[in-house]
Subunit: 439 residues, 2 copies
Amino acid sequence: MPETSSPAPVRVALLGCGVVGSQVALGIVTNPIDLAARVGAPVELVGIAVRSVDQELDARIPRALLTTDPVELAGRADIVVEVMGGIEPARTAILRALRSGAAVVTANKALLAQHGPELFEAADAAGVDLSYEAAVAGAIPIIRPIRESLAGDHVRRILGIVNGTTNFVLDKMASEGLELEQAVKEAQALGFAEADPTADVEGYDAAAKAAILASLAFHTRVSLKDVAREGISGVTAADVEWAKKTGYVIKLLAVAEVLGKVDDGEISVRVHPALVPDTHPLASVRGAFNAVFVEADAAGDLMFYGQGAGGRPTSSAVLGDVVSAARRRLTGGKGLRESKDQRFPVLPPEAAITRYQVRLAVADRPGVLAQVAGVLADHGVSIDTVRQASSHTEDESGAATLIITTHAAREASLATTVDAVAALESVRKIISVLRVEGA
Amino acid sequence: MPETSSPAPVRVALLGCGVVGSQVALGIVTNPIDLAARVGAPVELVGIAVRSVDQELDARIPRALLTTDPVELAGRADIVVEVMGGIEPARTAILRALRSGAAVVTANKALLAQHGPELFEAADAAGVDLSYEAAVAGAIPIIRPIRESLAGDHVRRILGIVNGTTNFVLDKMASEGLELEQAVKEAQALGFAEADPTADVEGYDAAAKAAILASLAFHTRVSLKDVAREGISGVTAADVEWAKKTGYVIKLLAVAEVLGKVDDGEISVRVHPALVPDTHPLASVRGAFNAVFVEADAAGDLMFYGQGAGGRPTSSAVLGDVVSAARRRLTGGKGLRESKDQRFPVLPPEAAITRYQVRLAVADRPGVLAQVAGVLADHGVSIDTVRQASSHTEDESGAATLIITTHAAREASLATTVDAVAALESVRKIISVLRVEGA
């Protein structure tokens, strides 16, 4: 008879066995000793929910674990890992798991952004953890640092490159002078963009992540519908080229910030292409990498950088959550729960305050700049810098290009101002209006 | 009579009230509502240990809390925050706290690097947490991500810029062409270096942090004496200039890596100036900022960037640990304890394997390169690139400069090889030998 009985295994159910799920399964079945050492008990994979039991599978993953019923499987484990994606049946399976007292680890950003409140309430009611490190920025530890490391600080602003596809596309446009369509084709050929790239290119994926980051950073429930969203489909090779000439790079940013007092303000959450100064740490984030830049009251500027997608990187984040959840099964206690005590009001998109760079084609004659500057002044929009490029006409012969960078202005007043500028006789065309962030 | 009693306050004792301690105290006494919301109970500061009760103090910190007896204070709190620094009485006070069942939060890297095993054993024996997010890289969340987020992954290598003073100095040398001595004087004038800069310049501070990072990443006890250490005092303006010409920047790096199999290898832990390719994310870490670059098996490359020192930034990391520890007092459970299950052997310094850049002054005549290359080949050191600069003599007239970058070689064999090269009649002087990391 042994003097000490070895602890019972922690039972893990895996919902989904695609790109991420198969790596999570391999991480558990090929790493048993390491995980047991970290956790303090063996970690046992008790089932894998798949669409079809005939699906292709790495030979090291036992086929006997497969089931096509995720909801049933979710009811018979200590930890349920959801990496199947989509809203249903993921939502029902997670609720089943939480109500049966299991901890849940999910990488499902869309589900969290749309049904987060329901899921977190179920987790709270059951007294179990709902973890989602892999849902934002893949392998990059960002959820735990914001939730735990910055728990004694106030976050002021988050600027995130949280979509690898669009970062790859914009980087290609910048480095090779491509138009968006060509760059997207290259991304597709290399596996960095899906056949239908809409969710990435139009910023839906980034918007879900913005909602999650904002909720966490500001202890306020922010859902997908609160996020103002604009994709990169309007960004042209000329925009990218002019950005470079004026000292910026264009990035698709997820922005979440407090306006006003850090403990009693209003928050703005949005996704849009933005000009980032080329000296900013986010500017050097190349290819499909992700990075999240956090400005906190006491900590100052922080940046977290790494791979935002891919099976193995994402599985690292999932398995980190599994180890934490498993340890809590053994040692008791709970992580920081979803804090929603601050309830900052979320501002409508037109209330956002940023700097802008407006590029316009104007008649190539003296006095035009004075006219344009006058309109801006009349509307209370203050000019930071102006650049006139009469030799670099890009749209029409006889036209000069004017690039105006403003000081911070409210989005709504900027829109009115731009309309007034466009109405000037000497202005031929507003070519682009891009926000400036991180300056 | 209230239907639910409000939870008892969590009692926090603060040992030390200097640059960091005063910011921690302010964070607790000026933020009471926020902290209580995060923790789920009020957080009460019960005492502050100082050297003299007459010391200057921010008016918002109650002078009645001051005591000159840290060890006594450490025995009457739920959480003891040690930010006094030094070995004693910090060590005795922390042991007292742990044995009395208090959780301890410390920023004391020197103490952890020298007496870590004793402290972690006391924490394990008492079943309480010993947290130290602030001990490495100030405000940057790095301890928790490595310990928890990467708990299901294998770390292969860590390259850290963990000393802000030396990064500021090297950055100044690169941007303004200064010699080390002048750059250190500027750092002192701006408050980035102490009057006696030895601990920073000679790499002692970075070595303590390297020991902590290596222990954590490799689940192996690594103490200060295991860390090979070389400071930046030998780095010249010419080294920095040549680095730039050959596509590198010089950084003082803390390096911790596994050689061989990631789950059954040997580890090398060292601090030294290194050439980092100018395209590497660490190369763009400017001024007094810190960054830790982590290469993990599944996660791939990660980087954590932020302020590595200063009262407010460091207090952010301390308070994050305080919130976590306070929550565990209330909800039970423990964080991941100090894992030491892997016990990788730590290699001696001469067994480290890196690439090198050797710069030498040679006679300016044909055939010299062939001689030098022959000696390297005879010693089994393989050449990656050679650059000959006959017009850029820097030491003697009639001499040419030869810059040889090798493939990976063992430190011991490189030393023998360099001696053999130096013995060649045509070689006037070995000007510098610098390691190359991150390539």
